[in-house]
Symmetry: none
Subunit: 443 residues, 2 copies
């Protein structure tokens, strides 16, 4: 007998944890669940943040279950004494907790894989409200819970966003789809954009948005130099949603680096280089390793990346990358000349010493002033020079806004984007076009 | 007669509006109220987002008032039919609504200043629950509401963030201060911990937590290899809060790397090295630049950091760091020997070529298998070797759980922590103790 369908007409979301109520702490799980449920066409009708105290949690879960037939609680499934969600759920459902033997074994196996005994407290994570199902955790220790009560359902998910998303994808979404969600739901087309500000993007597509607003939702989310643009509409009008996304993509041209949700510039760069059998080597100053970190986030990046150097000190730029001392002395570390020498230097290091293929290796370099100190009238905090050296060359100056973190983030995105655009324009221009030289490319 | 004081021991916040439950929409009022209340020492103990439907709103306001003595609702005070907050508040309080003549006049005057007659619907904005006070709106039309019920209070604020903040500043904050807020707020002691799992930390302090639970709140937040432990209590008992934090810190010993909120391991490492006039150079494989990125997040890290190398390819380990080819061939890139050779190699690179001071420079190296592929029975995904070379040496093996992202995050935290512990034990052992050699230090 197939399991009874889950309710899909509306959902409530409870984020659990006193820390989420502190100032400056953000709850990432409610936005994630809103998005995941929207993709299945399920509207969120109530949301709350409850502290870990059991009474507060019981009352909040009860209200959530009254507000919508499908209630989620995120967090509080850990092994510590302030993790009370299982206990509160059982009370809200009016049932007892029982230890679930397969979950104990799964938790124990997870510790054993790390060569550790399972601490006794972790046994608490295997408690299940009577009659509920355990949801395996693909990315962590705590199993989730799916409990049914009449026509309602209560789903407990782990608090770490990574675990929550993995469990939702593996365990919850398939059950909701099997219950009819998604089919009559909504479709999303995603465009990922770099090299534009949010407002310049908006201006470019202004005349397309009234059509969008009437029929579909258009969301624009900017994040550290990359912008995610989503066109959402009813599945019945999937063709129109796609058509609007295509019109916007045509308008934005090469600024669109991907149409796959969740990708970053590093994925687009990796795809391009893999296609062409090319590789990249990186020299970083103010970003200190952030670009290398982003590149190696991509599984399989060893196929197109060998080496990165974070030359924070001038002497490191000179000794490791061969930036000429007179250049550093005359125009300084944050200059077009130094950026070019760093890009050239790291490309040669990769080609000559690491064995990256000559003529098919790109050097990418970033140098700048992240602040909060070290700026001047001529070279303000936020000034960044980025250079690309390889089959085609490019260099470009930026002045980024924000604090140290944002400047470093924007610099890493701009660097990956300049590399992407340079590789793309080399491909398009292959055979005919003069090398750009170290000129600032027009956008 | 002065007005009765308002409750200041804790607050609940309800954001009103179906639109706040849509994906990609953020509620700015709850974060604003969390911050404004924190400045007055009033903790937020519950938060919810309710749609405009009156029944949902009545239930949510009732729960909010049960969860904390001082409840706020933000939004839904407009003149349109979906603005139901006044109506729901009256029902939640069990009283009738009455038109408040001075508010009608204030609204009319606001329209007249713009040369407009007051639309009749705006009269609804002058409705007040019986016995409540109207709060003038310095920045908009809708007056707010302050209602008292027993020892509790319910405050209705307008939804536009600018109006909410202006009304809070002009009308609410002064009343809360007059009631004693700000002076007698809450205090927080923070302990930042590394090298323990959340559950092993919990086990170590289990006997201390009942005392904590009785008198103070204890929150434990794990994030990528670092754990934040917060003891929170009333300012009147600041000594006891501090005392409990001290007892926990003593119990956890060297696992505590900082007591300053917001710091990471990189800050602790930076402080240690700065104190000692020492520097660090980094060689990364699976982390690809993440450790360098973390180090250079710290303003002023140029005072203790010169260079990092991400040697992703074996040939880069050999050519840039001098890892012997026979080592790579016989025991492989993920091995104790390779980690040690990388740490030694990057230290020598820094000392011999970049000018880091000989004898006062630490080399830190990480090599491992981040997955998702590349693991084997002997060397599973998650296997990581970390080595420190310098005034004292150390090497250590880890098997981390999780996916590629988490493994890389845990590896970077473990690396910074091994460096920290090695530097600390060198300092403590200076003058007497044998160098550890490349042994696994006991924790």
């Amino acid at each position: 007998m197939p399991p009874a369908p889950l309710p899909i007409s509306g959902a409530a979301v409870v984020a659990v944890g006193a820390e989420l109520l502190a100032p400056d702490r953000e709850d990432r799980n409610t936005p994630a669940l809103k998005r995941l449920l929207a993709e299945l066409g399920i509207p969120v009708e109530f949301a709350a943040v409850a502290p870990d105290g059991e009474t507060a949690l019981v009352e909040t879960l009860r209200l959530a279950m009254r507000r919508a037939p499908l209630a989620f609680a995120a967090g509080g499934l850990g092994p510590t004494t302030d993790d009370r969600t299982r206990f509160a759920a059982a009370r809200a459902l009016g049932v007892e907790l029982r230890e679930h033997a397969p979950s104990v074994e799964a938790i124990r196996a997870r510790f054993e894989r790390r060569g550790l005994p399972m601490p006794e407290v972790n046994r608490l994570q295997a408690l299940l409200p009577e009659g509920a199902e355990a949801l395996p955790n693909p990315a962590g220790t705590a199993p989730g819970v799916l409990a049914r009560a009449g026509g309602s359902a209560l789903v407990l998910l782990p608090g770490p966003p990574r675990e929550l998303e993995a469990m939702f994808a593996a365990e919850v979404a398939p059950r909701l789809r099997a219950s009819g969600a998604g089919a009559a739901g909504r479709v999303t087309e995603t465009l990922l954009v770099a090299g534009l500000t949010e407002s310049s993007l908006q201006e470019r597509i202004l005349d397309l948005t009234p059509a969008a607003a009437a029929a579909e939702d258009l969301a624009i989310l900017a994040h550290g130099g990359e912008i995610e643009l989503r066109v959402v509409g009813p599945a019945a009008r999937a063709g129109a949603v796609r058509g609007l996304a295509d019109r916007i993509a045509a308008r934005l041209g090469a600024a669109v680096f991907s149409r796959s949700p969740g990708e970053g510039l590093e994925h687009a760069v990796g795809r391009l280089l893999t296609e062409r059998g090319e590789r990249v080597a990186v020299a970083e100053s103010l970003t200190g390793g952030r670009i290398g970190d982003r590149i190696t986030r991509v599984p399989g990046s060893s196929g197109w990346f060998d080496v990165a150097v974070a030359t924070y000190a001038n002497q490191a730029k000179e000794a490791v990358l061969g930036v000429p001392r007179p250049t550093l002395a005359s125009v300084g570390a944050v200059s077009r000349e130094t950026a070019i020498a760093m890009a050239t230097g790291v490309r040669r290091l990769a080609e000559d010493r690491v064995g990256s293929p000559a003529g098919r290796t790109w050097g990418l370099a970033v140098t700048g002033i992240a602040g909060p100190t070290g700026g001047s009238a001529q070279k303000p905090v936020g000034l960044v020079w980025i250079a690309v050296s390889g089959p085609r060359d490019a260099a470009r100056r930026f002045v980024f806004p924000g604090d140290r973190d944002l400047i470093r983030q924007l610099a890493s995105a701009a660097a990956l984007n300049l590399l992407r655009r340079t590789v793309e324009s080399h491909r398009q221009g292959a055979g005919g076009v003069e090398p750009l030289g170290f000129e600032t490319p027009t956008r």
